[in-house]
C-alpha cells in the first residue's frame, strides 16, 4: 500500500453531498415535495351541477370546462353522472365535458368536479393567434352616442387598458350621461361594452368567473370583460373597472364559447358549489408526480405494501450513521457492529419501552438457557440453531403470557430478528465466560444505548419523511459516513482512557 492523496477522496465526498442536496432541492422546487412534515396546501374543490329536463329522447349535454385558469393549477377532474357516457373533448383552445345518453326523461342532474390548486406561477398564456376586433354596425341614434362616448374616453386615455377603464367609468350609473343612458340597459351592459370596444379597434370578449368562497352552494358565474392589449388577454371587472384577476377568482370560461349546450332537454342551468380543502402538500406532490415524468425518481409509484417496506428500509442508513458516529467518534463499545441498528429498527416497530422490556427479558431468559446448552458439548452451528429455536419458544411464550395477562407488549417481541437475538445471546454468553459479567454489562449497555440513540433519531417523523421522500439524501449520509471513516482524531472515550498520561506530560 502506498500513500495515496486524500484530495480525490474529499472531492468525491463533496460531490456526493452536493449531489444529494442539490437533487433534493431540485425535487423540492420541481415537484413541490415539502421539506417538513405535515405541510398543508389549500385546494379548491369546485363542483359544477347541470340541471335540465329531458324530453324522453336521446340527450347530449355540453359544458365548457376550464383549461388553464390564471392563478390555478388543475389537480383532478371527475364527472359523476350515472348512466351517462362521458368524455372530455378538446377543440381549438377550449375544453368541453360532454355527457351523452340514449333515453333521457324527467329532471336530470349531472356533476362535474374539479380540484384546483392555487399557483401564483400560472399566468394567462398569450393566444396562439392574434385576435382581431370585429366590425360593429350601429344604428342611429346609437352610433352618435357611441362616437361621443368613445371620443370622451379616448381623450382621457393613452392605451387600450386606460381606454377600457375610462369607458367603464363613463358607463357607470352614477356618472351616466344621456348618451350612455340611451345605450345601456342593465341586461345588455356588458354586451354593449364589448361591442363598443371592438368598434374602437380593441379586441374584446366576455369571460365568466367564479368567486371562490369556502362552502358556498348554488353559486353562479359572474361575467367579466377581457380585452386584448396586443400581447395577452387582460381581465377587467366591468362594474368597478378594476384590472386583473383578483385572488380567489377562478375564470371558468374565457373566449367566445358558450358555457352550456343541451340537446334533447330544456330549462337547463349550471350552478356551482365549492369547498376549500387542505390536503397535505406531500399528497399533492405525490399526485402530481404521478402525472409527470419526475415520478421515476420516487417511490410513489410502488404498491403501498412495498412503499411501507421501503419506509422502514430507508431508515436504516440513519441508524448506521448513528452507530458509525458512536463507535468512531464517541468510542462506545457495542456487541457486534450493527446489532444496535437492527435492535433500533425493531424498537421503531414496537415503540421504546415495550420493546426494551421484551428485548431484555428474551436475552435474559436466553442467557439462562444458554448456560444449560454449554454443558451439552455441542458444535457451534448446532448450538446456534438450538438457540434460534429456543428464542422462538421464548418469544412465543412471552407473547402468550403477556396476552393472557392483558399486556399487548408481549406481542411486540415478534418484531425482533430471531437470528440476531440468538447470536447476541451466544456472544454475550461467551463474553461472560471469558471476560466476566462486567464486560457483558458494559457491552450490553453500550449496544442498548446506541440502539436507543439510533431509535430516537429514526423515530422522528421528520427523519422518516426526509428519508422516504428524498431518497437522494442518503448520498449525504453516505458522504458523512465516508468522512467519519477518515477521522483520525481522538475518540471521546480515549480522552478518559489516556487520562493517566497527564503524569508524563
Amino acid at each position: 500500500m502506498t500513500v495515496r492523496s486524500r484530495i480525490p477522496f474529499y472531492v468525491a465526498v463533496f460531490l456526493l453531498i452536493t449531489a444529494g442536496l442539490s437533487v433534493a432541492t431540485w425535487r423540492h422546487f420541481e415537484m413541490g415535495i415539502p421539506w417538513m412534515t405535515g405541510e398543508q396546501q389549500p385546494v379548491w374543490m369546485v363542483e359544477a351541477r347541470v340541471d335540465f329536463q329531458g324530453y324522453g329522447d336521446s340527450a347530449q349535454v355540453n359544458l365548457h370546462v376550464p383549461q388553464q385558469p390564471p392563478g390555478f393549477r388543475i389537480l383532478t377532474e371527475q364527472a359523476a353522472s350515472p348512466g351517462y357516457g362521458f368524455s372530455i373533448l378538446e377543440n381549438n383552445g377550449g375544453r368541453r365535458a360532454e355527457w351523452t345518453k340514449r333515453e333521457v326523461a324527467g329532471p336530470q342532474t349531472l356533476y362535474f368536479k374539479t380540484q384546483f390548486v392555487p399557483d401564483e406561477t400560472i399566468v394567462q398564456q398569450p393566444p396562439t393567434r392574434v385576435p382581431k376586433p370585429y366590425t360593429v354596425f350601429w344604428e342611429e341614434p346609437q352610433a352618435t352616442a357611441v362616437r361621443e362616448l368613445l371620443n370622451q374616453a379616448t381623450e382621457r386615455s393613452s392605451s387600450p387598458e386606460s381606454l377600457t377603464r375610462e369607458l367603464i367609468t363613463l358607463m357607470q350609473p352614477d356618472n351616466r350621461t344621456q348618451n350612455s343612458t340611451m345605450l345601456v340597459s342593465d341586461e345588455n351592459y356588458l354586451q354593449v361594452l364589448v361591442r363598443m370596444l371592438n368598434h374602437a379597434g380593441i379586441a374584446a370578449r366576455t369571460a365568466d368567473a367564479l368567486k371562490l368562497e369556502d362552502a358556498r352552494r348554488r353559486q353562479h358565474l359572474v361575467p367579466f370583460l377581457q380585452i386584448f392589449n396586443g400581447e395577452r388577454w387582460l381581465t377587467f371587472d366591468p362594474r368597478t373597472a378594476e384590472q386583473g384577476v383578483p385572488e380567489n377568482l377562478l375564470l371558468w370560461r374565457q373566449g367566445s364559447e358558450s358555457l352550456l349546450d343541451v340537446v334533447g332537454g330544456d330549462t337547463s342551468q349550471v350552478s356551482f358549489s365549492m369547498l376549500r380543502q387542505t390536503i397535505p402538500a406531500l399528497q399533492l406532490a405525490a399526485r402530481e408526480a404521478a402525472s409527470n415524468g419526475l415520478s421515476a425518481l420516487s417511490f410513489y409509484q410502488l404498491p403501498i405494501e412495498e412503499q411501507s417496506m421501503f419506509r422502514m428500509l430507508l431508515l436504516l442508513p440513519i441508524g448506521a450513521l448513528m452507530v458509525a458516529f458512536m463507535r468512531m467518534v464517541i468510542g462506545i463499545r457495542t456487541s457486534g457492529t450493527f446489532m444496535p441498528v437492527l435492535i433500533a429498527v425493531a424498537f421503531v416497530q414496537t415503540t421504546l419501552v415495550p420493546g426494551l422490556i421484551a428485548f431484555l427479558s428474551v436475552v435474559a431468559i436466553g442467557l439462562l438457557l444458554r448456560g444449560y446448552l454449554s454443558s451439552l458439548n455441542l458444535l457451534l452451528v448446532s448450538r446456534i440453531s438450538a438457540l434460534i429455536i429456543l428464542v422462538i419458544f421464548i418469544t412465543a411464550g412471552l407473547s402468550i403470557v403477556g396476552y393472557q395477562m392483558g399486556f399487548n407488549t408481549g406481542m411486540t417481541v415478534t418484531f425482533f430478528p430471531t437470528v440476531i437475538i440468538a447470536w447476541t445471546i451466544e456472544r454475550m454468553s461467551i463474553l461472560w465466560e471469558e471476560e466476566g459479567p462486567r464486560e457483558v454489562v458494559v457491552q450490553g449497555a453500550g449496544s442498548l444505548f446506541v440502539a436507543i440513540c439510533a431509535y430516537l433519531a429514526m423515530s422522528r417523523p421528520l427523519a422518516g419523511h426526509l428519508t422516504f421522500n428524498f431518497p437522494e439524501l442518503h448520498l449525504v449520509i453516505l458522504g458523512l459516513i465516508l468522512l467519519m471513516g477518515q477521522y483520525t482524531g481522538y475518540k471521546l472515550s480515549e480522552l478518559r482512557r489516556f487520562n493517566p498520561m497527564k503524569a508524563y506530560d
Partner: protein
Amino acid sequence: MNWISPRRLNRIGMLNMNRRNVDYIAQYNDRSSYPLVDNKLKTKLAVGEYDVKTPKLLQVVRQQHEISHFREMAEDLSGFAIKPAKGSGGKGITVITGRDGDDFVKASGARIPVAMLERHLTNILAGLYSLAGTPDVAIVEDLVESSPDLAKYSFQGVPDIRIIVFQGYPIMAMLRLATKASDGKANLHQGAVGVGLDLGTGRSLNAVQFNRPITLHPDTGLALENIQIESWENMLEMAARCYEATGLGYMGVDLVVDAHQGPLLLELNARPGLAIQMANGCGLMPRLNAIEGLKRPHFSPRERTQFAMKSFSRM
C-alpha cells in the same frame, strides 16, 4: 477532572485508535499478509524460515474426529497450551500446567476434566474464537517454561514481551505480567500489568494496570522498577526479522523468554493495541514519524535494531 485535552495528548504524541487504523494499519499492512499473522499455525511456519524460534508444536487438531487422538496424546503430558490458530486477543487459549488424577489443572489452579477440554477443542474447530467465525484448527503446543528471573514477577501465566515493529524497526516494547485478575493471561485489558521497557537497555520504565500507574505487582508484591531483560538486543533483532517474514509494516510481536531455549515467538498481531504507550509513559507518534522521515531505511534487521536502540533509548 478525569479528562485529558486532545491538545495535551497531541503534545505527548499519543497514537489513537482511529489514526492507528487509518494511517498505519490500513496503510502499511497488506491485506494479503493478514492470514499469515491471524493464523498462528501459518505464523509458525513462516517465521521459522527467518530463524525465529517458536514453542514446539505437539499436535494440530483439524477435524472433529481427531479430538479422540488428542486424548491419547495428552495422556502422558503434564503441561501444554491449546490455542485456536485464528484466535485473537488471547481468546480461547487454555494453558494446562499439571495433572490431578484424570483431570487437568489450569495455570490458575482450576481443575478441568478432559471432557471439558474436548468441548473446548470442539468450540475452536467450529470457529468460536476465530476472527470471522470461520472454521478453525486447534494447535497444541509445548508449554513455555518461563525463565525464573522473569517468572517470579508474574502471578501464574507466562510473562511475555510485546514489541511494536514499524517497517522493520522495533520502536516500543513492554513486558506483560499476568495477575489474578487476568486469569493467567497477559492481556492488559483483562487486568494484566504492563511494564514499559526502555528500548536501548531492556530495563523497566514504569508500570500500569487497568491504565493506572502502579509501582508494585498487585499479587506478587514485587517492585517493578528494576527489571532487566536478558539478551535484549537478540530479542529486538528477532522481532525485526518478523518484518521480513511477514511484510507487515505495523505489527506487534509477542515474545517469551524460555528457560532453556531463550527467546521464543508466541504470536504476531497485525492490530497491536495502544496500551503500550501507557506502560511506557510516552506516545508512539514521535517514533513513528522518525521512522517515516528516514531518507534511507536500513536493510538488515541488525542495522534497524541498532538504529532503534540508539534513537529511542530514554536511559
